[in-house]
Symmetry: C2
Subunit: 159 residues, 2 copies
């Protein structure tokens, strides 16, 4: 199986939106009070992806994994300013990662991640952050494998 | 002991900056690689607080607790837009809470929090989020007491 990692192209928008919708649906299953379905955000996602191609996107990077020309996963990373209380001014953030279920356990996530890492390093980023739902065991296990560890919690109070 | 909760005034800026610096130093002790000292961000904090008074601040609220006219704690809350994947469009966020060490265990934090809650409810906010360092046991215990529970983790990878 030949896996090709490359930057997203305009023609990939539909495939990416489909994967994003599955990622959203997966979250909705985890916590239906907090997350909404992929269908509910489909239009905005498509618009946002189109916007990605119309701007000079020096602080965002979307990578796709292709197997025989078919997109089987994607990874979105961004460079953000950090809070006033942090030593560093900027950090790298992983904002979305999704691999088609049928193509998991083939190191596709790892390959996408390593490619993004090169971009972060070239931009002199010192650390990468990612936010995961505490019930999203698949993501937590994957990120631990990549070397991430929990350092902050987000807590919530429903009114 | 008479505790008065009120909105921050221009004349309170110096007292608030001092408390913010102690909050920063407390975090620096927890993780000196990630957080910087209060001194290092003092100037920007003062500027930011001044800015708070110069803008129509309909999405930020800073409350102070006064004991005999002296500021013994403060709480900063904000209303933020939520991500595309969330059902709600907005949420309330607690961004800073600090009580002078000598005045802890007197329910000052709780009084500040209850006052902020009224503001969030008036603005039709459905839930409140707060981000804490996983090693900040004081904060985690306090927020659990107020009814918060962990729902997301932030993970980090140092490059």
């Amino acid at each position: 199986m030949k896996i090709k990692i490359e930057e997203v192209k305009k023609g990939d928008i539909n495939s990416i939106v489909k994967l994003q919708m599955r990622l959203a649906d997966y979250h909705k299953e985890i916590d239906p009070r907090y997350y909404r379905s992929g269908k509910e955000s489909e239009k905005q996602r498509r618009e946002r992806l189109k916007g990605y191609f119309s701007k000079k996107r020096k602080n965002t990077k979307i990578l796709v994994a292709k197997v025989n020309g078919k997109i089987t996963g994607f990874l979105k990373g961004a460079i953000h300013k950090l809070h006033l209380y942090c030593r560093e001014e900027r950090m790298g953030e992983i904002s979305q990662l999704y691999i088609d279920e049928k193509f998991r356990r083939k190191r596709i996530g790892k390959l996408l991640f390593e490619e993004l890492l090169k971009w972060f390093k070239k931009r002199k980023i010192k650390f990468i952050e990612v936010q995961v739902d505490s019930k999203n065991k698949i993501a937590i296990v994957a990120y631990k494998k990549y070397g991430f560890f929990e350092f902050q919690k987000r807590m919530k109070l429903d009114l």
